[in-house]
């Protein structure tokens, strides 16, 4: 059979998104498409967990999860009914820098969707019964995380990796932190963080610029214009370490990471491509090949290359039966060592470029996908022209660029490793729950 090993140029995207001015230096990115009678909207507010007070981790997340629990003269039940009977699907995703709220709606209900979202932003209620209920749900989630080695490893890993920085605590907070939060805290948080300054908005679908501009202005116009400062820069990087969290589960999960770089670092894209080659690619990375395909040690291993506003991260994850965790970690260190030393081959770089540029249009094949992708570029502080320039920048990277980034970033002697489970060969055990004090 003929397999085409094509290296052709990826197809162009459709029309580039438009920037809509809604006043006060705010621009909204908008991709217009009338094929499906729906609109997808993604809004990121500078209201992530990095802004939690040190004694109240979980404040940003609790505020976010109360977003649809009543606003203005609508109590929780009425507010939810207003959304539900119009099939407006709202998703609330607090993260470390931003609180992203996204929704899809039939285009016929777009006006009501913006009215309801605007009302919740402008006049959130934080009613006592809603606080009690949602806090109880979050506490129960924390409790249930104790079953999940991935969650337990992640909690400990972030504490160590971002030691002393507000990125170090989980977005969902702690039981003590959630317990200490009051309605006054929530109202103050919303007032300073659910604001027009620094908000990032992307829209895709069946509407037009004039309609959208007017809806956006009425939803966001009344909000305070202050811009919360970006979270502090991550200055102190954690020392290399191996930590275990004891859990009686058949399969252990390990998180492993090295410090990343800021989005505006000249090596950022080279590092991103390097990460794809060593651990980011689904079935084609060096780690997948060595740990899964050759040795059958795991169902999945991958590395994620990304950035918060104050600092970057390169974090990998692997899950394997407890007696194999030592071997898996040894293989991972070997793979990283070789990669840091020699970098990728010319073929690997070429394959990475054709994958990353060729698959780029897949992110733009649905309204929901477009809104999410555009909003993520906005959160990273990229200009709207980046949407069209991105593939050219990746194609322009040289083997030297990526080798330099590999050498600079993927040094296994800097690894922070946390294993949750009960690996026999690794001591230094830390009991779950006995975690570092949040700052």
């Amino acid at each position: 059979m003929a397999v085409l090993f094509g290296l052709g140029v990826a197809p162009a995207l459709g029309a580039p998104p438009k920037a809509i001015d809604i006043g006060a230096n705010q621009t909204v990115w908008f991709e217009e498409d009338h094929t499906v009678p729906m609109v997808a909207v993604s809004i990121s507010l500078p209201a992530g967990s990095a802004y939690d007070p040190s004694a109240k981790p979980g404040l940003a997340a609790l505020a976010a999860y109360l977003f649809n629990e009543g606003a203005g003269n609508l109590n929780s039940t009425t507010y939810q009914d207003e959304l539900a009977r119009r099939a407006i699907q709202l998703n609330l995703s607090p993260d470390r820098d931003y609180f992203t709220l996204s929704f899809v709606t039939l285009s016929a209900n777009l006006k009501d969707a913006f009215r309801l979202v605007g009302l919740a932003l402008q006049r959130p209620r934080f009613d006592a019964d809603a606080i009690v209920r949602v806090r109880a749900q979050m506490l129960q989630s924390l409790q249930q995380e104790g079953e999940d080695p991935e969650a337990m490893a992640s909690r400990r890993f972030y504490e160590l990796f971002f030691a002393g920085h507000p990125y170090g605590h989980e977005v969902g907070g702690t039981a003590a932190g959630l317990g200490a939060i009051t309605a006054t805290d929530l109202k103050a948080f919303a007032k300073w963080h659910w604001v027009r300054g620094g908000v990032k908005i992307a829209v895709s679908g069946d509407t037009d610029t004039a309609t959208l501009t007017s809806l956006l202005k009425s939803a966001f116009g009344p909000l305070a214009a202050n811009t919360p400062p970006a979270p502090p820069r991550v200055t102190r990087t954690s020392a290399p370490s191996l930590t275990t969290v004891a859990m009686a589960v058949p399969q252990s999960t390990a998180l492993f990471g090295v410090p990343g770089i800021l989005r505006n670092d000249p090596d950022y894209l080279a590092g991103y491509v390097a990460n794809y080659i060593v651990g980011g690619g689904d079935f084609s990375s060096r780690l997948t090949n060595e740990v899964r395909e050759k040795r059958g040690l795991t169902y999945g291993i991958s590395m994620s290359f990304g950035d918060y506003r104050g600092g970057g991260y390169i974090i990998g994850q692997v899950a394997t039966k407890r007696e194999s965790i030592g071997e898996s970690l040894a293989v991972i260190r070997d793979v990283l060592r070789t990669f840091a030393q020699d970098g990728p081959t010319a073929d690997e770089l070429s394959d990475a470029k054709t994958y990353l540029t060729g698959s780029y249009p897949l992110a733009f094949s649905s309204n929901s996908g477009i809104a999410a992708q555009l909003n993520s570029f906005q959160r990273e502080g990229l200009p709207i022209e980046y949407v069209a320039r991105r593939n050219g920048l990746i194609n322009g990277l040289t083997l030297d660029d990526v080798r330099r980034a590999a050498r600079r970033l993927f040094n296994p002697t800097r690894l922070v490793v946390v294993v949750a489970g009960a690996p026999p060969a690794i001591n230094k055990s830390v009991k779950p729950g006995k975690t570092a004090k949040p700052h």
């Binding site: 990826a10 609330l92 109880a136 079953e147 058949p250 795991t298 394997t320 394959d351």
Partner: protein
């Protein structure tokens, strides 16, 4: 099928999206409050221009044009799943799905995935009780490549022994991750085993560990020979294509694979259950208690007209959103639970499953949660739902079919799944109208006839020593 019954080939979805370590938090939260997605609603589409034809070798083809972006989604569905696993070899169908990525004579080793990736393509696969599906998403000018690759592995897979052994270890790790590490998933396996009696739906898709370990090269080869044939497959292409182009390319690729004699699918008895089953599980790894009730009910393939549709509506009324009856009563009004849900899994060849579940609030007993749930269910059994509630749920279900048109993958899945379990393109297209036609009395009648105790398994999962 619900996510719990569907398993994929790659575990590397951990990090899709940035930064996924945090998204996990979001996803969990999504289950109970923020997200209005109806867990119980099946993926069916609103009317969409769809063409259907067959190749001379018997392969069915469905084409769904979507010209918004220059990309395509290809799915190949085989009418074989875990229910076709031979006795004593549960997990074979799922294991075999993995083997489809281990190379052929012309595209050896990992070249399938590498070739696709090099061409900007994404790919994966999943297995359920009823079917196994493989898919690729790629730029439209690479569709022919994806078709060549799929046709090639349908024709001449290379099942060498070392591959089989390594991949079996991968599958056992997948099982540890999905099932053995999760108290709720472990208990869920036993619920299905009890619910479906001797029907193969009672065996886990991923297989019992002792049986997975028995799978060898010969079993895999035999399974391939008798199930992975064009006359047992459905090709679905959604995206920036024309029907004529797909027809020509399908004939030139899949059309060259010869039809093979199939092993007839086993028809299994589904005897009436004579009594309810109650399952009490204590698990030292569990950190929260968990209540669930699963009813064996008629699926879309078996049900009388309107019956399964009424169950989709009922699931929405009971647990679809924050104003659903179970959520209102147990979470908001009585504060007995922190999380509740209801779902109807009616996309199966044989019986479907209607599920309600709850996580009790701290200090609340499973008995109290069950009593309150039973009260809510009794309301629907005894009287028709209020008009406003019914309208809200129907609006959401019908809108879900429109939202589905936003995604090539969701559209292709809806048609592929329907055909794989014996439904038709017309069934998918008429689903919104059929949902709209459900009356309050239909809901009451079907709640009464479907949510019957003897057809149920009730699970009490508690933290504690075994």
């Amino acid at each position: 099928m619900e996510a719990g019954g569907t398993i994929c080939s790659t575990g590397s979805s951990f990090f899709q999206g940035i930064p996924t370590l945090i998204d996990r938090e979001t996803a969990k939260r999504c289950i109970f409050a923020a997200c209005l997605a109806l867990v119980g609603s099946v993926a069916h589409a609103a009317p969409q221009k769809v063409s259907q034809f067959a190749l001379p070798n018997g392969m069915q083809v469905v084409v769904i044009p979507d010209h918004r972006a220059p990309v395509v989604t290809q799915m190949v569905w085989f009418r074989v799943g875990a229910m076709d696993d031979p006795q004593g070899l549960s997990g074979l169908a799922h294991f075999f799905e993995h083997m489809m990525f281990r190379g052929t004579k012309s595209v050896p080793g990992d070249q399938f995935a590498r070739t696709l990736a090099r061409n900007g393509g994404e790919d994966n696969a999943f297995t359920t009780q009823d079917y196994t599906a493989f898919y690729e998403q790629i730029a439209r000018d690479r569709l022919r490549l994806a078709m060549d690759l799929e046709a090639d592995r349908m024709a001449e897979l290379d099942l060498s022994e070392p591959n089989v052994t390594t991949e079996r270890d991968v599958v056992l790790e997948e099982r540890r991750m999905r099932i053995d590490n999760s108290p709720q998933a472990l208990a869920g396996e036993q619920v299905d085993a009890a619910l479906f009696l001797s029907h193969p739906y009672g065996r886990p898709v991923i297989g019992w560990p002792g049986e997975v370990r028995r799978i060898g090269r010969a079993e895999a080869q035999d399974f391939y020979n008798h199930h992975y044939a064009p006359n047992n497959a459905i090709l679905v292409i959604a995206g920036d294509v024309t029907v004529d182009q797909v027809r020509a390319d399908a004939n030139a690729t899949f059309g060259r694979v010869a039809a093979r004699p199939l092993v007839p699918r086993v028809e299994c008895a589904q005897p009436v259950r004579l009594g309810e089953t109650r399952l009490a599980v204590a698990d030292p790894n569990a950190k929260v208690a968990y209540f669930s009730r699963d009813y064996r009910v008629k699926s879309y393939s078996e049900a009388a007209p309107g019956q399964a549709e009424a169950l989709d509506v009922l699931a929405g009324l009971l647990g679809g959103d924050s104003n659903s009856a179970l959520y209102r009563r147990l979470v908001v009004e009585k504060r007995l639970a922190t999380e509740v849900g209801a779902s109807f899994d009616g996309d199966s060849r044989d019986d479907g499953k209607f599920t309600i579940y709850a996580i009790p609030a701290p200090g609340v007993s499973l008995e109290a949660v069950e009593r309150a749930s039973d009260d809510v269910i009794a309301k629907f059994v005894n009287s028709p739902p209020a008009a406003a509630e019914l309208a809200r749920v129907k609006t959401q279900l019908v809108a879900s079919a429109i939202y589905q048109r936003d995604s090539q993958y969701a559209l292709a899945s809806a048609y592929g799944q329907a055909l794989a379990i014996g439904l038709t393109v017309a069934d998918v297209q008429s689903w919104p109208q059929r949902i709209n036609a459900v009356t309050a009395q239909d809901v009451r009648k079907n709640a009464a006839s479907s949510l019957v105790g003897r057809e149920s398994v009730t699970l009490f999962l508690k933290p504690g020593p075994k």
